[in-house]
């Protein structure tokens, strides 16, 4: 599974950069965007955005299709969505569980201290 792990490394390397993450977030909200639309909110020039898109494309996170003079960028959702859905589901689940666990352990601690005092 060397290829698979190489691909994951590329995915995570691509996600390290905040501008690239912001591009992905925008694509998650919109169905597709042109490169100039994507460049709009950033204080960087088009060629820099193109470079970021190259990295995202290599990592399999976006696809680009050209129609005439316009390049349309789309999120390639499969690898990201699965990972994000997994994380979100379990974060909600475990966060609630750990709060309950903390409350329960703290009540046991209080109980142990009361007993300790009585025993003395």
């Amino acid at each position: 599974m060397v290829n698979h792990h190489e691909r994951l490394d590329r995915t995570f390397a691509a996600l390290v950069d905040p501008t690239r993450r912001a591009i992905l977030e925008r694509l998650e909200r919109k169905d597709s965007a042109s490169i100039s639309e994507l460049a709009e909110p950033f204080a960087i020039k088009l060629p820099a955005v193109m470079k970021h898109l190259d990295v995202l494309d290599d990592a399999g996170l976006v696809t680009r299709s050209k129609s005439g003079r316009t390049v349309t960028v789309r999120l390639r959702p499969q690898p990201m969505r699965e990972a994000l859905a997994w994380l979100r589901r379990y974060e909600r689940f475990w966060s609630g569980r750990l709060d309950m666990l903390a409350a329960y352990a703290e009540s046991k601690e209080a109980e142990a201290r009361r007993k300790g005092k009585k025993g003395r």
């Binding site: 499969q78 569980r97 703290e106 601690e109």
Partner: protein, 144 residues
Amino acid sequence: MTSLTLVRRIRARPAIVFDAVTTAEGIAHWWGPDAGPVLLSESDPRVGGRYRLRFRMLDGTEHESSGEFLEVVRPERVVMSWRWKGGLEDPGESRVEIRLRAIPEGTELIFTHAQLHDEETRRSHEEGWTCSLDKLEAQTATGT
């Protein structure tokens, strides 16, 4: 590897937190994602021992998870495998690790839930299939 890490600071000593995490009686007190009842809580917290947990949610659905204790170092660290029964939503096995560290106010708990490689392998296989089917569909559509 996809993994989730959460940290909690708990005003209780590590041994108490550890028992709350690993014993059947402890687990029954904090398990289940809403106010629905915990129906079953079994746990044999030693290396190779198994646990099984079932709860009913307020919407009436029942969910069961189970797995094996892989590492048990009281009161510092416990590692277990994790699997949903049925597992339609999240098939395959994952790994849960809980580390406890004594701090002045009690315990710092570091929780990690990680997808395993074989789970990712399965997903990548699925992706492979999806790609092939997409290609097939594209070929059919263009009439080649």
